[in-house]
């Protein structure tokens, strides 16, 4: 059997694929963060908590209302997105004139409150959530055993990421959004309701996080800390990709997932550090991130 550095090639392919799957979660979460930062200039530390709410939303819909996975995939992001809109209107919108730091503190505080409330109610061990029956089972790809559900995760997140990129870069709505970031006053003068645009953008970013949460519910443990464990890595992804860069966050998310996957084979002990080492190197060489525009 052919090997690379003593690791059999099939095992390496397996890890590559797993890396892509984890990368899909990073991509979809960092995309939401990038959109929110790009258009609102808010560093949304509540993103992990909202991702967790998405997963819990799916669990609650199933256990309290008997609504299954597929409707939850739409409903849960809508509900959490609406919650995001309320937060933006009530709290975040008051901070646009202040330093970034205030937004960061507010959203960080919100994250702690949300996680604490869920922890009080549901404990920390998590709740069981099954894989939808259509996607149970797995394919034998020769080099690895690929669960159908993981394949679905990659496809779903790639579609969502590409669609988001398309809307923002190629449509009229996206053009309004981008213009509103550049010069809100001028865009407002053309008769476009800029505050509403911003509110909806935040809601959409939040809905993306919740969508990732629903995707994650069947594979990861649904528990109040699930977002907190992930969010730091996701922030590193955003920084490496370039703050606010949409394409950057998607490509970096997938790329780092793969790098992390390989680290787990060659030097498992370093697998949770490698992302931050890369971040440090990127910040030294290209402070604006790989895809960021130099300010």
């Amino acid at each position: 059997m052919s090997t690379i550095f003593g690791v059999p090639l099939p095992a390496l392919f397996g890890q590559l694929l797993l890396g892509l799957i984890n990368g899909s979660f990073y991509a979809i979460l960092s995309l939401g963060l990038a959109i929110i930062f790009g258009l609102l200039n808010i560093i949304n530390f509540a993103h992990g908590a909202l991702y967790m709410m998405g997963a819990f939303g799916a669990w609650m819909l199933l256990n309290y209302a008997g609504i299954g996975y597929w409707p939850a995939l739409i409903l849960s992001p809508l509900i959490v997105g609406a919650f995001g809109v309320v937060i933006e209107r009530l709290l975040i919108s008051r901070l646009y004139n202040l330093d970034h730091l205030y937004g960061l503190l507010l959203t960080f505080g919100l994250a702690l409150i949300i996680q604490g409330l869920f922890r009080n109610q549901y404990g920390v061990s998590g709740l069981p959530y099954g894989i939808p029956s259509q996607l149970t089972g797995a394919q034998n790809l020769g080099f690895m055993f690929m669960p159908n559900y993981r394949g679905w995760v990659v496809v779903a997140s790639l579609v969502v990421c590409l669609a988001t990129w398309f809307v923002i870069e190629k449509t009229r709505l996206g053009a309004y959004l981008r213009a509103a970031t550049e010069n809100p006053t001028l865009v407002g003068a053309f008769g476009i309701n800029v505050p509403r645009l911003i509110t909806l953008t935040y809601g959409f970013g939040v809905a993306l996080a919740a969508f990732a949460g629903v995707l994650a519910a069947p594979v990861y443990s649904v528990n109040p800390n699930m977002g907190a464990d992930l969010i730091i890595v996701v922030f590193a992804v955003v920084v490496i990709g370039g703050m606010g860069s949409i394409l950057g966050s998607v490509v970096t998310g997938l790329g780092l997932g793969v790098v992390e996957g390989f680290t787990r084979v060659f030097y498992p002990e370093a697998s949770n550090v490698v992302v931050f080492v890369i971040m440090a190197i990127v910040l030294m060489l290209r402070p604006a991130g790989l895809f960021g525009k130099e300010a």
Binding site: P8, L18, P147
Partner: protein, 401 residues
């Protein structure tokens, strides 16, 4: 009787009675993970258990004024030892209880020895606490990595699972668990093919699971705990590892973890624990009272361990009418343990409290009669076989005597 002698006798009686009525006030500190990944194993439930022990003992009527306080060590040894130091130096705490997370437990054990106080471990697991790092001031109550690894490792190897691969959490507890399990497997005639270390609280363990799968070992030993174990089992079922013929062995699984997994994902899992709520009338009675005070949740073995270690401590204080650490420690080691939850046992010179351990199998969903009906007993491991033999732990306290 001459008046003078009478007076003397009366004074003597008065003195004795006075001592009996004098209050001994003790302060018990429950230190554990109150909000992180181990907080369902111990957490606020351990505080409830400690308070129940004080009430059940009727401490107040026996001249003991007992106060229970608690704190969150956030799974960080530096935070844990700072709290322990403050408790002993400034807050007048006499005994620290529970302390999940082995690395923190080892740190608190050091502080306790330095301050000549008492530390009774329930949630922490590493067998080093009564091994190379044993301390005259530390008593390890509920379980340890050796007992779990030995129970599960020996049982599975003897049932034909003679090749093992370990998935190990990368910190003190994980490596202790792996080491102890490896020894048990080898002793029972099995072979260890390899292991992989994963970071603590890793949400995705599939990469590591695939490496375990590729090893072709018959048994994959999960030398981790809490959320990591839950994710390992959940993701192993996703990747068809059990269907592929490999068996999972949870080396540290608590009933709260099985609840979180659901019986569907966890069924058939073999594990070792010191306590299960539905075992005897005494455990059922305690557990139902506990659940009534704790949102309907049954106690884990670690929480039950806090309850019974507090009882044993209070018995020693009552017998001595004093809370002097050295005397209480000697008394606790001298008195046999006769406990409603853990049965009969004793405390050895190395600080290890010994009692029977149990080998359980997680029920199939079809076998379960209720929300908390999750285990069936496969085997009882008798007290003298359940824990590491005294002479194998390399505890300096044992070599001296």
């Amino acid at each position: 009787m001459k008046p003078k002698t009478f007076l003397f006798a009366a004074a003597f009686v008065g003195l004795v009675a006075g001592t009996a009525e004098a209050q001994v006030s003790v302060k018990l500190g429950v230190l554990n993970d109150m909000s992180g990944l181990y907080s369902d194993i111990s957490g606020p439930g351990s505080v409830v258990a400690a308070k129940m022990a004080v009430e059940d003992f009727k401490a107040a009527s026996k001249g003991i004024k007992a106060e229970v306080i608690s704190a969150d060590h956030q799974n960080k040894p530096d935070v844990g030892s700072a709290i322990a130091r403050k408790w002993y130096d400034q807050d007048g705490v006499d005994i620290i209880l529970d302390v999940t997370t082995s690395s923190v437990a080892l740190a608190v054990s050091e502080v306790t020895r330095e301050k000549h106080k008492i530390f009774m471990v329930s949630g922490g697991g590493t067998s080093d606490l009564t091994g190379e790092k044993c301390s005259p001031n530390t008593i390890h109550w509920t379980y340890d990595t050796w007992a779990l690894a030995n129970g599960t490792g020996t049982a599975l190897t003897k049932r034909g699972g003679d090749t093992w691969f370990f998935l190990t959490a990368d910190y003190a507890f994980g490596s202790a668990l792996e080491r102890d399990a490896s020894e048990a497997v080898k002793k029972a005639g099995g072979k260890v093919l390899g292991s992989v270390k994963h970071p603590l609280s890793a949400s995705d363990l599939s990469s590591f699971l695939l490496q375990a799968q590729a090893s072709k070992a018959k048994v994959i030993g999960l030398a981790n705990a809490g959320g990591d174990t839950i994710n390992s089992i959940k993701q192993a079922s996703e990747f068809g590892i059990v269907e592929g013929g490999q068996k999972l062995a949870g080396l540290l699984i608590f009933s709260s973890d099985v609840k979180a997994l659901g019986l569907k994902a966890a069924q058939g899992l073999v594990l070792t624990e010191a306590f299960y709520w539905d075992q005897t009338d005494a455990t059922r009675d305690f557990s139902k009272r506990f659940a009534a005070q704790f949102g309907g949740k049954m106690p884990t073995s670690s929480q039950a361990g806090v309850y019974s270690s507090v009882l044993h401590y209070l018995k020693a204080v009552e017998a001595l009418k004093s809370k002097d650490s050295a005397q209480v420690l000697a008394k606790m080691k001298e008195m046999p343990i006769d406990d409603p939850l853990f049965g009969k046992g004793s405390i050895r010179a190395d600080g290890r409290a010994i009692h029977p351990m149990y080998l359980y199998e997680v029920k199939k969903p079809s076998e379960s009669k209720g929300e908390w009906d999750i285990y069936k007993v496969l085997d009882t491991i008798p007290t003298d076989e359940a824990f590491r033999p005294l002479n194998e732990g390399h505890c300096p306290l044992v070599n001296k005597s």
